[in-house]
Amino acid sequence: MIERLPELVNGDERLVWRGRFLTVEFLVEVGDVPYYVSIHSGRITSVERGPFYTRSWLFAVRASVEAWEKLWEPVPRPGYTDILGLMKRGEARIEGDLHPFMANLRYIKEILVAPRRLRGGC
């Protein structure tokens, strides 16, 4: 699902525009599998499935497969509407240099739930 972020995000002109000041490499971990996500001025330029050893990332968002699946339901259930809700439940960890994450919080949250679109969500 995460591997499809480029097609899910880059075609949404307004979403890309909201991330126009963000250029960053960060980690998304789905269960045991790390994905290195590269963003350049709001466009997802690559998503690479890891692990890659000694590779840098600025911040990481980690959750179990089950938690991500619930987050990506087209109509999420209570407690699973956004990544912050998962974090509050102890089902996600967000760590690293969080300044770009916070400064672009709406954009980051929106790209992390973009896989809902694959199941008819919005």
């Binding site: 209570p78 509407t81 956004d82 912050l84 809700g85 969080l98 709406r106 949250k109």
Partner: protein, 273 residues
């Protein structure tokens, strides 16, 4: 209106509509009375209730006090209670119902404990005696992050997915317009964990004198239904309603659905002696 709070002069903006039992509405942290604009134009409410909503100092059209530019805004139980009671007394409201959401829901607990005889009932929306903090609120007020956009993004997951797009984004716009450091200062009160204070308040509430109604949306993960039920269990006679397909901002995010919950309750309060 002009109020003197903590010995300082404040200019407080408020709106009202309707005639009948006074219903004082308290907005959430980081926002303002626009959250109640739907309720205020609902004839089913204004037919029997005089709906009043005031902007807390530093919010909406209520200016901060002179000298604010050198201060860090911070809300406490004492200053919040003082503002609400001062507002009610300044307008000589006859036993108003006080309804508040989020931090406005939390404050109805000390209000019911200490001012029961002056109130007809309290309604806490998304209210609990205390809620667990899960976020470093320092992020909300710093020069290298837009506090308004960040504040709105921080709360956007608290709305129910079923809430209409238009009212969802109007609710979030209110957060985007909040003044620097104000949302953060409100959350000082909202997350304040002086446990003994609120346990004491809850023990002192006599719901036969001042009924307590607590309504919480199932999608609220800041104040969860479990938080509200736990709180109600500690207030003898308190009533709880869990609102399906509703989030943290019932009166603002989905006014139509909120009507289905609030109208019967207002009718019940009206028919009380």
């Amino acid at each position: 209106m002009h109020l003197r709070l903590g010995g300082r002069p404040y200019r407080v903006y408020f709106e009202e509509a309707g005639r009948g039992i006074p219903l004082v509405c308290l907005h959430t942290a980081g926002s303002d009375t626009r959250q109640y604009r739907h309720l205020m134009v609902d004839p089913a409410v204004t037919e029997h209730y005089r709906v009043l909503a005031f902007d807390m100092p530093w919010h909406g059209k209520s200016t901060p006090p002179p000298g604010w530019q050198e201060e860090e805004y911070r809300l406490t139980t004492e200053t919040y209670v003082e503002a609400i009671i001062s507002f009610c007394r300044a307008l000589e409201l006859d036993r108003p119902v006080v309804m508040g959401c989020s931090m406005g829901g939390r404050i109805v607990i000390p209000l019911a404990a200490e001012y029961a005889k002056e109130l007809r009932a309290v309604i806490g929306l998304e209210a609990a005696d205390q809620v667990q903090s899960w976020f470093d609120n320092t992020w909300l007020h710093r020069p290298d992050i837009h506090g308004g956009e960040m504040g709105a993004a921080r709360v956007s997951g608290l709305l129910a997915p079923q809430s209409p797009e238009e009212t969802r984004w109007e609710t979030l716009w209110g957060y985007m317009q909040s003044g620097p450091g104000v949302f953060k200062g409100d959350l000082y009160f909202y997350f304040y964990r002086a446990e003994s204070d609120f346990r004491d308040f809850m023990a002192r509430i006599d719901t036969k004198v001042c009924p307590v109604y607590l309504l919480t949306g199932e999608y609220d993960y800041s104040c969860t239904p479990e938080d509200t039920k736990r709180t109600a269990a500690m207030i003898s006679g308190a009533e709880v309603i869990i609102m399906k397909e509703m989030g943290h901002f019932p009166m603002s995010e989905n006014p139509e659905l909120f009507r289905s919950y609030i109208l019967p309750l207002l009718e019940k309060i009206r028919s009380q002696k």
